[in-house]
Symmetry: C2
Subunit: 514 residues, 2 copies
């Protein structure tokens, strides 16, 4: 065991000010792994410096990548950008203070999806308290039943609900649909939607124009140099979370402090680089192992989902920066410990060895006094026992793990945690030579959906009182029978005028308009 303790200390990193630490001793990398990777690590450091200095770090979209400036505006590459960020942050705080002072609003409804919702959802859950100034709600999909649920619950308080619509392009269909449904709910209640609405969007976007035309309360910018999945420290997160009453300045400061720490180009002193290198080691730089993330803290249960988006959308790429087909990425999943020990940890311990684990430890159990649940032991001791016991048991079973420790869950420590992983993802992108800042596949999915929507309309138009099969309608429309059949089933389930006469096979089903 002595050699493990030596290894623990050899690679252990901690920051005295924040109390955050990183343990990579339970990753089985060889002694020559880090020296061998050093040239790649240095290349990644250099790329990161260029990025922070305002280089076009997202070449496919011809964009700078500036989320690090959001928490240290003076590091932005131009004085104009610095001023823009500072002005925006100031305007948001002022707006939130005005809303709080007015006493008119008790609820915030955020309408957004992906990077425009998940960050606020994570922080809302991780940091919310009984003393929150306003309650947050979310529409983050185009599921009408899901919207009904949220809007019905808010119905008695719509007058006191501020709606924040978040969409960089203003053209994201799910968000636009959510906005239109919310608007309809306000109209139905005899309320002026614009007088309750706030836009967070790119200047000149469709949403920006719509908000201006309809006299919305205020518009805050989204810049093209901030990607959705790293936007929680821009207006995307700051608007709803300042409204909620979180101390977002502490969050920004915590992130800035982590940024300062992870700027060191000494690999062994840089926790983000060590993380990236461990991911590389675990999956041979090809994502051969899934990353299971287990925060032992209820408040961090959404962090795994947040990381799932950050890591997979950033690193899951077909082509590398030289245009070579690489199909990169790392799959991420997890919920929370010790709860997950009563679920899939059975497989982690005994089953298919296709993962490495990240434990997130929070040292402090709770604020107040604890009862003893056994002589001399409190509930927090059990949480610690499960974390340490599981780490040991998994390691002894040949399963590697990383442990990140936080002193407690505060705006500052959560800001630091986000910044740590943002930097690690950027480094890993460099290590495997992919653009970690675009998402071409998302665009492709939207296009495919648009084709289906067009087809739905055409199929609807082609229905008649005469029962027809999918093949008949398809051949009339020049469309394949299966797609037409799916469209017909969707219409039949949602439009009472569309009738189905089931056949023995899908091809024999007949559809008519009554």
């Amino acid at each position: 065991m002595n050699s493990l303790w030596d290894r623990y200390q050899q690679y252990f990193l901690r920051d005295t000010a924040s109390g955050i630490s990183l343990d990579i001793s339970r990753m089985r990398f060889d002694d020559d792994f880090l020296p061998r990777m050093e040239p790649l690590a240095q290349r990644a450091f250099a790329a990161m410096t260029e990025l922070e200095n305002g280089g076009i770090a997202n070449p496919d979209e011809g964009r700078m990548v500036g989320h690090y400036w959001l928490r240290a505006p003076r590091l932005a590459p131009t004085a104009d950008l610095t001023a823009e960020i500072e002005d925006c942050n100031g305007a948001i705080r002022e707006f939130a203070a005005k809303v709080h002072a007015s006493g008119r609003y008790t609820e915030v409804l955020l309408i957004g999806i992906g990077g425009s919702a998940l960050g606020p959802q994570f922080l809302h859950d991780a940091l919310g308290t009984a003393d929150d100034r306003m309650a947050l709600h979310f529409l983050d999909n185009t599921d009408p039943q899901g919207m009904d649920r949220v809007l019905c619950a808010l119905a008695p308080r719509l007058e006191h609900t501020l709606v924040v619509v978040v969409s960089k392009s203003g053209g994201t269909a799910e968000t636009r649909n959510g906005m239109l449904e919310a608007e309809a709910a306000y109209e139905k209640a005899g309320l002026n939607f614009g007088k309750h609405a706030v836009a967070v969007t790119g200047a000149g976007s469709a949403l920006d124009t719509y908000a201006e035309k309809n006299g919305w309360l205020v518009r805050f910018p989204m810049w093209d140099w901030v990607g959705g999945r790293t936007s929680v420290m821009s207006a995307v997160g700051l608007v709803p979370l300042w409204l909620q009453g979180l101390d977002m300045q502490a969050l920004l400061d915590g992130a800035a402090a982590m940024d300062a720490w992870t700027r060191t180009t000494e690999t062994l002193k840089n926790p983000a680089m060590l993380l990236a290198l461990m991911w590389h080691c675990a999956g041979n730089g090809r994502g051969e192992k899934d990353m299971v993330v287990l925060p032992y803290k209820d408040r961090l249960v959404l962090f795994s989902k947040y990381l799932q988006q950050l890591v997979m959308e950033s690193l899951g790429k077909e082509l590398d920066l030289d245009g070579k087909k690489v199909n990169q990425g790392i799959a991420v999943y997890g919920n929370k410990g010790s709860t997950d020990q009563h679920a899939y940890v059975q497989q982690l311990r005994d089953g298919v060895h296709n993962f490495f684990l990240t434990f997130i430890e929070v040292r402090k159990g709770r604020g107040g006094v604890s009862i003893e649940v056994e002589p001399g032991a409190v509930t927090a001791d059990f949480l610690q026992g499960f974390l340490r016991g599981t780490r040991t048991a998994l390691y002894e079973g040949g399963r590697d793990s990383i442990t990140v420790s936080l002193p407690e869950v505060t705006p500052s420590s959560v800001g630091a945690l986000i910044a740590l992983y943002e930097r690690a993802v950027g480094f890993y992108g460099s290590l495997v030579n992919v653009n970690a800042y675009h998402q071409p596949g998302v665009e492709a999915g939207k296009k495919a959906a648009a084709g289906v929507l067009k087809l739905l309309a055409r199929v609807k138009g082609a229905l008649s009182a005469e029962p027809q099969t999918a093949a008949q309608l398809g051949s009339a429309l020049g469309e394949d029978a299966e797609s037409v059949w799916h469209a017909l089933n969707h219409l039949a389930a949602n439009d009472p005028r569309v009738n189905t006469t089931p056949g023995t096979t899908p091809g024999a089903d007949a559809f008519a308009l009554t």
Copy 2:
């Protein structure tokens, strides 16, 4: 495209009564795959019949496996068992009706973990409406801060809160801790905990004894022939969900109907067997591909987590039934569509090809009338467009998928969905020859944690006013320095009497009691 439409129809399965269907046409299995697997499939059918007839299907624990009897008590192997199930179900309904009629309670707090919480959480979220009779809350971990959050929110209504403590053995530490913390909250409020408490536990368990001794309202049984991850249709789910006001009889009936469908031993007509075979095909029977589960419906967002537990805890096994080391399992993750298309679907489409996908489609958009968000199009059309578009785009990119379609989210269809996957997991266990009904690794994790708890107490006892390092304390206690150091850090973070003087390395940190 014609050949795809033919393939679609060739393997398409649907049940007219429930409206549930299965599409495996986008899984690229060869023509000879199903014939080749047929002997194994038949072996699995035979094993399932034995199981349903009361064989010892869980040989390691010497237990029957009876979750199918819960929804069809008359199929239980003895008249006694039939009566026991029917009596229990009747008693639960009666109890819930009495609670509702009393008007005394508005809230239910369920305390449980893993199989004793996740099923109720999933159904609570999937099926809850504004008309629910009672609101459900959960303690599902031993995180004191997490408990504080729930108990503080309930504090003003504790008098009107019914507590349901769920633990088969009664010895699960997280659940016991949650119960003791809840009990303390009631005492602090001057309320008699027992007069608000219900136990769901094995007869004669520690919890059973405790509940009896302390005059709890009522105790409902957990049988050793129902595993935690398949217990949602036993008292574990029935007690909280009948209290919530869900129509659990419809859920049981939906499950029973699916059980009837999936009892057919004609492989091509059995949707559960086809699912199991597709999983086998995707991962070569060794879990080489992750199962990504994407329900396109907000209400089903927890289904992926539910499946994660069901699949991974059942199939993630070190040894097969012959004692051979196989390290089986299938990793499962996912949240919901189309939301996830704005997160990790980027990687699914472009990145590392280590998964197959399951789409869960819900045909009906919503109950009422929809506004048009574009001429002729409603939000549900978009949801359909994203699902179909993504399925097509992924398939064209070489990524296979299964699609399960439900007419809508009702107690009946969700019961059927759970039953479909329970059966598929059982079949898959047979296909790869593992015991899908035990969880030896969970026990091991508990043991490892117990060791840590003991160490915590010993380290606490060994601290003195004299600062000592982890190595010094460790050698005095005969424990390894690293474990002692972790214990010391935990104590320092949670006990104000423990002081740390940080050194340059963990080994140089000194700890003292003040």
